[in-house]
Subunit: 376 residues, 2 copies
DNA sequence: TCGCCACGTCGTAGATGTTGGCCATCGGGC
DNA sequence: GCCCGATGGCCAACATCTACGACGTGGCGA
């Protein structure tokens, strides 16, 4: 492939002039045109590897998550990539599977590749060490949890209020023995959600008894077992808040196994809304703004790239309660249309539910078109 | 950060010896040990950018798909990344949104970055042009469709037999007016699936009338509208085969809107099985081996990297029919356990359904554990 | 009118960090 | 003594960007 010397020769200028012409240096219009013409004629594309070596930084950023097959991360990844693309950056995808060693390997690669930045969902608050990156001036933004090793930008969802709203909703529907299936005590998100759940129980009209809490592992099987354990209690709950999408899937499976459905049992969960409006029993969900979290994380990264020495920011994005399923008080045979609730403001929903989250920038007119993607 | 000269100085050898010590050249054990020690002391990591420049190829491969938010691509991406990681490669993720221009930009980047290879789901059979990559010796593997511009390795699912099995199943259940909602005529996969659907109708016990086919756009809204159109016919179908997961979501939405469910209407679809066992009406699905397609594509890429001049391969992976929902003939109030059918061999299913596809290599004992990932 | 200075433009050379080719050296076996 | 293999050092190459210096021109003051 043609290199910058070939172009220089063809345009009758020096390589430096070609570089300046392409990267916004001061070049006379006449020469710039000659360079432009030579580039097109030779099909010249600057070698990004050589550029990266010389400039000491690449146009690639790393996204380290636990598993792209989790729809939460899927939407997050899309948010990151959309922002990156707008700045001519590429995204490398790293599935660390919640394994600190695997994660450390990827962090090493990010360092060795001189990457432009890292967006990370830390596998562990204590073990994840990003100081090597920071020392080298590579910006790092954490999602959901902040590693202890350093103070860095963080983006989170408003887990506490989301859990509060969902619990409040179950209480309003008349459920009185509400349990919570949450994640391990090591997860900040799990604790936040539990906090919101408990806060709703401290209000005036809530039952006085202490609500039951099951700690599972944020995985399908964990949700399945926790739900079965709860249902086996001598006094089983009449409603359950499940704090992530995978466990919700397992919990639903358990309910299916026993033929339980509302209004016999109330169910609310955190998670995405791809399919939760289609399942039975209908699932009220705390929608997490995964796409927006990804966007924000990438934007913080770009900001920090420009201004490395500003104080770390902590961003908390609002969640949204999507209410579905028949109310216990007004037991209705046909499912009512979903309502979306954000900070207690509700508005009706029209048309078929979209597969993708709303708010993609290019999805203004018809979000299904932009979001849907094609085949399969 | 320390470079190879620092290490050489610290170890008392030349930079070339350091390079050989790290890359498997012939170095005396004594010096190799000194180099090793120096590396660790200085925390030396070879600069992958410089290495890429010198070696004229990088350790990164591109995955160009239409949208990572589609679970099919999500599983595919995971398959690609697992194989890549085992060979110390990284994966950059590119969402082309079925837009040939966006796709061309990403192909350009792959060229400019001297990437190790490209796995692509072509946005268009006619417009997608990968010859520039091939000319530069960059291996390209196509998934699902083969671009016309060149003969390259391809990996596909056995769409035709999958559609046949699903249609056969609906016929066996006693449905007689089965319609098909498929994708645009431009998609090879859509045509393959339609072919299987029609083949099942040509068998002895099938109804003589010509089955109705709706061409939609492989998107949620397309499935919703197509289903509504079918139901508005004077003689609506009593069962429908939907040929992708997004349209299936829309079709289900339409059925919900009319309160229809089996055995009043039969439904089968292509797609993933994350949630299809939880929805109502229960969805019989043609499981596509997305993860395995990703693995195979990446493996073909690595093979071609080693042996560039072998003839292009065409790989077709089997699909699997996952039967659910009450049979029309033996109308059963409680849903029977799912059966999995592959080439007409069925085996019973136990335990809660897993979120992730089976077959992840490290998921032997408990696939939920490996697949589940953590928080959210 | 001449000279100096400032500015815009351009070319040369060097730097980025690694690897591989080439050659020299050394030691052992025949 | 010769040859061969193993080992290791030097140098160049990969393709780009940028610091520095040079050159020309135009303006302005003397």
């Amino acid at each position: 492939m043609a290199n910058i010397y070939d172009v220089a020769k063809a345009a009758g200028v020096s390589p430096a002039t070609v570089s300046r012409a392409l990267n916004g240096g001061s070049v006379s219009p006449e020469r710039a045109a000659r360079v432009q013409a030579a580039c097109e004629e030779l099909g010249f594309r600057p070698n990004r590897v050589a550029r990266g070596l010389r400039r000491q930084r690449s146009d690639v950023l790393a996204l380290i998550i636990s598993d792209i097959e989790n729809p939460f991360f899927t939407a997050l990844a899309r948010g990151v990539e959309d922002v990156a693309r707008a700045s001519n950056l590429s995204v490398v995808l790293c599935n660390a599977d919640d394994n600190p060693e695997k994660e450390a390997e990827y962090l090493d690669v990010a360092l060795a590749e001189h990457m432009a930045g890292v967006v990370i969902f830390p596998a562990s608050v204590t073990e994840t060490d990003v100081t090597a990156l920071l020392d080298r001036g590579v910006p790092v933004v954490a999602v959901d949890r902040a590693p202890e090793s350093a103070a860095i930008d963080t983006v989170t969802a408003d887990d506490e209020n989301g859990a509060y709203a969902a619990t409040r909703h179950l209480l309003d529907e008349g459920y009185r023995r509400i349990a919570c299936i949450t994640g391990s005590r090591g997860s900040a998100a799990a604790m936040e959600r539990l906090r919101g759940f408990l806060r709703a129980h401290r209000e005036g009209d809530a039952p006085r008894r202490r609500p039951r809490v099951a700690y599972a592992d944020f995985r399908v099987r964990g949700g399945y077992q926790a739900m079965n354990d709860l249902l086996d209690l001598p006094e089983p709950p009449d409603a359950v808040l499940v704090t992530n999408n995978l466990m919700a899937s397992g919990a639903l499976e358990a309910l299916h196994g026993r033929g339980l459905r509302p209004p016999g049992i109330g169910l609310a969960s955190f998670g995405d809304t791809h399919w939760s409006h289609l399942v039975e029993p209908a699932l009220t969900t705390v929608h997490q703004p995964a796409y927006e979290i990804g966007r924000s994380a990438a934007e913080l990264l770009l900001q920090r790239r420009e201004a490395p020495d500003t104080a770390p920011q902590r961003l908390i994005l609002p969640t949204r309660l999507e209410v579905r399923g028949s109310s216990r008080r007004a037991a209705d045979s046909s499912p009512p249309p979903a309502r979306k609730v954000e900070t207690r403001v509700s508005h009706p929903e029209t048309g078929p539910r979209q597969w993708a989250r709303l708010g993609r920038p290019d999805a203004a007119a018809d979000s299904a078109t932009a979001a849907g993607s094609a085949a399969r």
